[in-house]
């Protein structure tokens, strides 16, 4: 057992951390207000290999050999420390790329990889509420809300037993700007007897795998947001003076921060463990990924709410970063539905 990072992991963590601290944190507030990412995101992130990191090398991507969900979790944590909304845009193409790469027909691969290698993005939507009805090869109902869906060329749809790649061209796409992850190009899509190309149905595929990938990444990013919220809170508390001393010296506020960071540290390890189990095809991988999301959701909820508390009145206004983080926290627990409920029903 070795908790140390190997050279490649070390390199990726340092690179993404620099990117998150220097760029994402700088862009976060404006992107949040604008409800859109900065133009530079695509180019800068592209140079770092995002968007095509899960696209096979022979298809013009960067994936050579097996994809590492552990590395993705390490990366996701750093991205979350930067900006949850921009992180979502950088991560949302991974599930479609991996799923199509694993189970897609050559036609599906050609279509998706061609888009991704030309600067397009894709995203994954899990119909957790049973809002979509499948009639033969036709889908009817509402897709999303999902991040990236407003600009995605393709969406990987999981509903019931069906996992399929759906091109968004010609569909009724309704871009929306929720309160959280505002810059993440959300949309809903209304499917009206939309036909799924037989070639684009991913047969012998595992929706459970895709969900485990998504949950692991969500959990890691959530931990990053939780830690970032408390980093801001600590910096603020060191300066802010009340009752004659920096509020950072008040035991009650120290405890709020410390408890949140302890939960986040434990949740991060669980997310990394899930990533490692996915990489090693461990039997517990799906369960660990789900547990990681449960506790990471608790961590980000608590950390962001308590970070606003530590900021006091300043935490409630848009001039300071934690107000955004409290809004951003919600999507981590909402996407794909209530994780605890899913676990409980699965164990009945």
């Amino acid at each position: 057992m070795d908790f140390g990072l190997d050279q490649e992991q070390q390199l990726i963590v340092e690179t993404v951390r620099r990117f998150a601290e220097r760029d994402l944190r700088t862009w976060a507030a404006d992107a949040d207000r604008a409800g859109a990412p900065p133009d530079r995101l695509a180019s800068t992130a592209g140079e770092l290999g995002f968007f095509v990191d899960a696209v096979p090398a022979d298809a013009g991507g960067l994936l050579d050999g097996n994809y590492s969900h552990l590395t993705r979790a390490l990366r996701g944590f750093e991205l979350g420390r930067g900006c949850a909304a921009l992180a979502a845009l950088l991560e949302c193409s991974v599930e479609p790329a991996l799923a199509v790469g694993a189970w897609g027909s050559s036609a599906a691969k050609a279509a998706l990889f061609e888009s991704l290698t030309n600067g397009g993005i894709a995203t994954f939507v899990h119909d957790s509420r049973g809002a979509i009805t499948v009639d033969g090869d036709r889908l009817t109902g509402k897709l999303g809300p999902a991040p990236g869906l407003a600009t995605a060329s393709h969406v990987l749809v999981a509903t019931g037993e069906l996992l399929a790649l759906v091109p968004t061209k010609g569909l009724r796409v309704t871009p929306i700007t929720p309160s959280g992850w505002r810059a993440a190009k959300w949309a809903t899509i209304t499917l009206e007897a939309t036909r799924v190309e037989p070639d684009f149905v991913l047969r012998n595929s595992s929706i459970a795998d895709v969900l485990a990938w998504a949950r692991t990444s969500l959990a890691a990013r959530a931990c990053g947001v939780a830690v970032a919220a408390m980093e801001h809170a600590q910096a603020y508390a060191a300066d802010r003076v009340q009752f004659g001393q920096p509020i950072g010296k008040f035991e009650s506020l120290i405890r709020l921060r410390d408890d949140a960071l302890t939960t986040a540290a434990a949740a991060k390890l669980l997310a990394l463990h899930a990533g490692w189990q996915l990489d090693t095809k461990h039997a517990q991988a799906h369960d660990t990924a789900s547990r990681a999301r449960v506790i990471a959701g608790d961590a980000v909820t608590r950390a962001t709410i308590d970070a606003v508390q530590i900021f006091g009145g300043y935490g409630f206004v848009n001039d300071y970063p934690v107000e955004k983080m409290m809004r951003d926290a919600r999507a981590f627990e909402a996407l794909h539905g209530d994780e605890r409920l899913g676990r409980v029903l699965a164990q009945k």
Binding site: P178, S179, Q309, F316, N318, D319, H336, R340, L341
Partner: protein, 403 residues
């Protein structure tokens, strides 16, 4: 009619305000949250139906239709009326509720400490509409950038110049700070005297040197305006300084007492938010199914609803008790803080859990539960943070003076 409200008066007010919240507030709440705008039309409507901005100055008669028993020893009903009403209005929308009641923060010290002349001036400045046809509102200008929970160190200073005071300083977190027609500005008149030197001044919007500053973009309660106010050597006639008449009731100490009295009301607002989210989830659960089974058949969801109801009920009782004690002239400092701290936690917990249980639905723009989640947070911050409330409770436990 429950144990705390032994007169039909209360249920009447509750019904009236619930209908008002349901029919007038709910339909406009989401839009004002989105646009961060004050509900001027509704505020005028509210004023005409017994909730004038000056209600507190004029006494509760307009609101309740009954006169308080003048005998100071007899139980009053104001605190319980305010608590019962606040829950209903905040159930409609906390931001709109605060917009409607925003002037009350300023009116309260005027009604407590003001001379007849000051009350008349205050009401004169609030009379009629402004150039936009909006009713006029007042602002309580107390907080400052440096003073959040700790209001003993006010930086805004007032120095005497003949028969006038000259006020200089900056205020922050001021409700109605940009739109007010009249401000009650708190300033230090005698640094040596510390807290006892702090006084309130009635200042009209057009007083030279009074400059409204930046309006804040907030996480929640966005229908209520919060802005900075700058005072650049504002001249105020000494006759407009509050608390001269009765030295005993003068100054900040009394202001804090006034803030104490608002805690049960603020607590009730938090209860209203929690109840709104709880009822939304309950309606959804009753009407929806989950992968083919009724949502109401799932313990996972129903037990959380039970928890919510338990916490909401407990918070409401704490708020009602604190108000009941105030109406019965009992010291309720610790009880008011318990009500405030407990209901703030309940509001945050219930709205957060409701969002989680609703899943992706609650991510849709303009979803009411998502708004209530953002609105709830302020209740653990303003009017004394959750830490301040616990500090007050702890001091009473340690046998110290909580104020």
């Amino acid at each position: 009619m429950d144990i705390f409200h032994d007169s039909p008066l209360f249920s009447g007010i509750r019904q009236m305000l619930n209908a008002f919240a349901r029919q007038a507030i709910r339909p406009i709440a989401i839009e004002h949250d989105r646009s961060e705008s004050m509900p001027w039309a509704l505020m005028k409507q509210a004023a005409t139906m017994g909730m004038p901005q000056t209600a507190i100055v004029e006494g509760r008669k307009k609101l309740t239709g009954v006169d308080e028993d003048p005998d100071p020893k007899k139980p009053k009903s104001q605190a319980r009326i305010a608590v019962a009403g606040a829950e209903e209005l905040a159930w409609g929308c906390a931001g709109v509720c605060l917009a409607i009641g925003g002037s009350g923060l300023a009116a309260s010290p005027v009604s407590r400490m003001g001379t007849e002349e000051q009350k008349q001036e205050f009401k004169r400045l609030l009379a009629g509409d402004d150039e936009h046809g909006h009713i006029k509102v007042a602002a309580m200008a107390l907080s400052e950038p440096g003073t959040g929970s700790d209001i003993s160190g006010l930086k805004t200073a007032a120095r005497k110049d003949g028969s006038h005071w000259i006020i200089r300083g900056s205020k922050q977190w001021i409700t109605n700070g940009k739109s007010a027609a009249v401000y009650v500005v708190w300033a230090q008149t005698d640094p040596a005297a510390g807290r006892a030197g702090v006084r309130g001044f009635i200042v009209g919007r057009d007083a030279p040197g009074l400059v409204p500053g930046k309006k804040e973009t907030k996480l929640g309660i966005r229908a209520s305006e919060t802005a900075q106010v700058h005072l650049e050597d504002v001249r105020v006639h000494e006759s407009m300084m509050l608390g001269v008449a009765s030295e005993s009731s003068a100054g900040l100490a009394d202001t804090k007492k006034m803030l104490d009295s608002t805690r049960p009301v603020v607590a009730a607002q938090a209860v209203g938010i929690a109840r709104a989210a709880y009822e939304f989830l309950l309606d959804r659960v009753r009407s929806s199914s989950l992968h083919g089974t009724p949502m109401a058949s799932h313990q996972h969801i129903m037990f959380e609803l039970s928890e919510m109801l338990m916490e909401i009920t407990a918070s409401r009782m704490l708020a009602h008790r604190a108000a009941w004690m105030a109406d019965h002239h009992q010291d309720n400092v610790a009880e008011a803080s318990m009500a405030k701290a407990h209901s703030a936690r309940t509001a945050q917990h219930v709205t957060t859990r409701a969002m989680v249980l609703l899943g992706e639905e609650a991510l849709e723009p303009g979803h009411p539960v998502e708004k209530w989640y953002r609105d709830a947070k302020i209740y653990d911050i303003f009017e004394g943070t959750g830490q301040i409330q616990r500090r007050i409770i702890a001091k009473t436990l340690a046998g110290q003076n909580p104020t």
